[in-house]
């Protein structure tokens, strides 16, 4: 177990409290829906980082699981109205996505480094083609629309998630679940095994850890969390289109992970929030936004390979210098 320093646990608690009271401070609906998208991306980026940053496998198939969750929820909710409700949809997503992850991961992890990236990209493209062309199931580019609001049943009743504020708390719960799962994994023996496999697969194998088994565990957990975000997004946006599987999402997630600092939870969460809210505030045209994103990403990986983590680490060092004896910082990975 790696213990959090006092300043870090304080910062996480403060962030959580701020997130909890946010809908009462900010009341403009547009800002709340932007915050909802930010939390969807926090979930996606943190689970993506489990694969990219913590196990060191550059998968380009992440939107497949997000899209799977969204399509599963959309199909369940539209084929039988009023639909089976959140828990069943979540179960289908969270149990189905790891199976899909195994189907992709078992062949793809036979490949190394660059080939793995290309292999997963191949699966991502095939998934995109299926979403676009299997009209009977997905309605292709006509999208699945009019998805009813999320129905959350609890002992004694059913809650319809209708208002923005309700949606916000649901997605906040999902994001907290994702961040907490990744944090717990990172601090457990499993997280240490992940790090061993990432830093030296041969040595890890020699110590009795199967690298591919570890990689598949990271890949399946990450897939489950992304699919859960997809279930929420389908109900929140009320339509599901093939664009859920877009390569653009992969690019955005790569930006969040690398600008945040691969393997750094605080960095990735910050980057996910900054890169969903920033473009909204700047109100940029989509194409210019991507030009800017690309330049930022290029600049970051050439000049600041540790991204935001570098800033946090520097701030942490400054703080602990003032207190003379500081706790050991979680080391970010330098790929």
């Amino acid at each position: 177990m790696v213990r959090l320093g006092a300043s870090q646990s304080f910062a996480w608690t403060a962030a959580l409290v701020a997130a909890l009271v946010l809908p009462f401070i900010v009341t403009v609906p547009y800002y709340i829906s932007t915050a909802i998208f930010a939390l969807i991306y926090v979930t996606l980026a943190v689970s993506f980082d489990l694969v990219v940053g913590r196990i060191g496998a550059l998968s380009l198939a992440q939107p497949v699981f997000y899209g799977y969750g969204a399509y599963a929820a959309a199909l369940l909710a539209t084929h039988a109205r009023p639909g089976p409700g959140f828990w069943i949809e979540a179960a289908v997503a969270v149990l189905g996505a790891p199976l899909l992850a195994l189907a992709i991961g078992i062949p793809a992890f036979r490949l190394s480094l660059h080939s793995f990236a290309m292999g997963t990209l191949g699966f991502a493209l095939i998934a995109q083609l299926v979403a676009n062309n299997w009209l009977d199931l997905t309605r292709g580019p006509m999208c699945i629309s009019a998805i009813a609001p999320l129905r959350l049943s609890y002992p004694g009743g059913v809650l319809q998630i209708v208002t923005l504020r309700q949606s916000y708390y649901v997605v906040l719960a999902i994001a907290v679940l994702a961040v907490a799962s990744v944090a717990l994994i990172a601090r457990s023996r499993l997280g240490m095994a992940f790090r061993a496999v990432r830093d030296d697969p041969l040595l890890a194998a020699a110590r009795g850890l199967s690298p591919n088994q570890m990689r598949l565990i990271a890949f399946t957990v990450s897939a489950g969390l992304s699919a859960l975000a997809g279930v929420f997004a389908a109900h929140f946006e009320t339509v599901v289109c093939p664009s859920y599987l877009d390569l653009g999402i992969t690019v955005l997630l790569l930006i969040m992970v690398f600008v945040g600092g691969a393997g750094s939870l605080r960095g990735v969460v910050t980057a996910a929030v900054v890169f969903t809210i920033g473009p909204e505030l700047l109100r940029l045209v989509a194409a210019w936004r991507l030009v800017l994103f690309g330049i930022i990403l290029l600049f970051t990986v050439t000049a600041f390979p540790d991204g935001f983590e570098q800033l946090y680490a520097a701030a942490g060092r400054a703080l602990s210098r003032r207190r003379s004896a500081g706790p050991a910082e979680e080391q970010a990975w330098k790929p």
Binding site: L58, S115, G119, F293, L298, T302
Partner: protein
């Protein structure tokens, strides 16, 4: 039978397109071990250069095409300075993400400057139909095949007989030893990137007259070319070219039975299948030429 022969010709054209892009990709990977995700965008830039030369300079096809290929050499130089040089010696994930970022920048710069509406480039040979026995094909397809063959012959001679080409092969065989004997890594990398850009330029001036020029035209070609490079064994130029032609043929012939929307799935299906049985590609790690 007609359909089959037509598709074989289509497949060879497609295959040359993929091969011209894949050869540059494999060359750059062999020399600096960087996977250039933006290589298809070099193809796109080349096609726009041809469009600009035809529309604004009013040059006829052949000189405009020659100018575009030369300008691609210059663009390769810029690309090397802006992207590749800064990433030499960094981690492979960072390199891949950097070139992916470069591709996003290029595609979207094209969208905001020239617009996403497809542009037309013309070649006098597109409308010329050649008939031999019962095969009818556009003369432009023949141009594609001939230009690709000439480019590959040139590339082979360059790698085999020139000093720069030998240095590239040396670097892709053993980088450390190449440094020890005093091969200037940066200059050789630069010439690999420029060569790769010009090969993409050859594809860019011969193929778009058969279809059109648009900002995302490079994206799908990058992926097909990657499939070829992965299948051919990373860094193996000959392997990449042969795999690219095979993939082009598989895609074109597969369309006879598979709905055409799934054409890309054929390419990636073949790639995944090959990698499952031969994880280091069809041509393994040996024999890099």
């Amino acid at each position: 039978m007609h359909v089959f022969i037509d598709e074989v010709v289509n497949g060879l054209t497609l295959g040359s397109e993929y091969a011209l892009v894949a050869a540059g990709l494999a060359l750059i990977f062999g020399v600096v071990q960087i996977v250039n995700f933006a290589h298809g965008e070099l193809y796109m830039v080349g096609a726009y250069l041809l469009y600009l030369a035809q529309t604004y300079l009013n040059w006829p096809y052949v000189p405009a095409a020659a100018l575009a290929v030369l300008a691609m050499g210059l663009f390769g130089l810029i690309f090397y300075v802006a992207v590749i040089r800064t990433m030499i010696g960094k981690g492979w994930q960072l390199q891949l993400v950097a070139t992916l970022a470069a591709s996003v920048v290029l595609i979207n710069l094209a969208i905001v400057t020239v617009g996403s509406i497809p542009k037309v480039v013309v070649s006098p040979l597109t409308a010329t139909i050649l008939t031999a026995y019962f095969v009818r094909l556009s003369a432009q397809r023949l141009v594609v095949l001939v230009c690709a063959l000439v480019a590959f012959a040139g590339l082979y001679g360059f790698l085999k007989y020139t000093k720069a080409g030998k240095a590239m092969r040396a670097m892709s065989q053993n980088r450390d030893a190449a440094v020890v004997v005093g091969i200037p890594i940066e200059r050789v990398t630069l010439s690999a990137v420029v060569t790769g850009a010009m090969l993409a330029g050859v594809a860019a001036v011969t193929i778009p007259p058969l279809s059109n020029v648009n900002p995302t035209m490079g994206a799908s070609v990058t992926l097909q070319a990657f499939a070829a490079v992965v299948m051919g064994g990373f860094g193996n130029v000959t392997g990449a070219i042969v795999s690219a032609v095979l993939l082009g043929l598989a895609e074109a012939i597969g369309i006879i039975w598979v709905p055409s929307e799934y054409a890309d799935a054929i390419v990636f299906g073949v790639m995944i299948a090959v990698l499952l049985f031969r994880p280091h590609g069809l041509f393994g790690r040996a024999a890099r030429a």
